[in-house]
Symmetry: C2
Subunit: 145 residues, 2 copies
């Protein structure tokens, strides 16, 4: 039933948020499929939950240490009853601020916090009653727009 599925999917998004804000890379990676395709805000394409966990372990200890993430769901579409595409707007407060897409600028930043906004598309499928993320892509919202 779609209403129940929307609730379950919203819970997945909240799990990502909580895991990020706890700096817990294993919990962050948990809702992803074993072989997820993950495109980050730098346009890097990773394959597999293990790489998602490793990549987030690194950033949670460095540039995103102490950062705060919120996801606002802008739309959920169900191309099929057991396939969902979720569109979010993300707001991230971090020491990198708006320079999330430019590691060179980021390295020059000091300890102050600033906000970056991005949009994500996530493709989820329902397997044995559980929604897993099979594809994820993140795009920075341009500062000028």
């Amino acid at each position: 039933m779609e209403t129940e599925d929307v609730r379950l999917i919203e819970r997945v998004v909240v799990e990502l948020e909580r895991a990020w804000n706890a700096g817990d890379s294993a919990a962050f990676a948990a809702p992803f499929a074993d072989d997820v395709d993950f495109v980050n805000v730098l346009g890097d394409h990773f394959r597999g939950r293990a790489l998602v966990a490793a990549g987030h372990r690194r950033i949670f200890y460095t540039i995103y240490k102490g950062s705060r993430l919120t996801y606002e769901i802008e739309n959920i579409r169900f191309p099929r009853a057991d396939v969902a595409v979720v569109f979010t707007r993300a707001r991230l407060m971090s020491r990198v601020g708006a320079a999330v897409d430019d590691p060179r600028r980021a390295e020059r930043r000091d300890g102050t916090m600033g906000e970056a906004q991005s949009r994500t598309t996530m493709v989820l499928t329902k397997e044995s009653g559980e929604w897993r993320i099979e594809a994820f892509q993140n795009t920075k919202v341009a500062e000028a727009s």
Copy 2:
């Protein structure tokens, strides 16, 4: 049959490429679903094929006039037999060069051409034997990576 579906999906990607390189916004928008969710490289989220056509009409006459686009398919996954998620690496030669994610820098550019790379995720569904794009997102590949 998946092999045949891969061929049909590859053809959709080639249609996008050809339409872009012909500066034909109607042809570019044609493979998208009526109510497509489209997140561009600036992180703007548009809804509907009409907005995809209008947005591309504008850029084909301005910053992307005379530009050349190629898509390389990096992966196609089939969460269901009639649902595909296509991952591409895009290369765009244009007057904007690598500044595709920064309209303010772009406006300062002169007539020379330069390359930008990005990655796209497209979600396609098969309806009456035809693959349509229901979701599209584009992320610039960071210059430093």
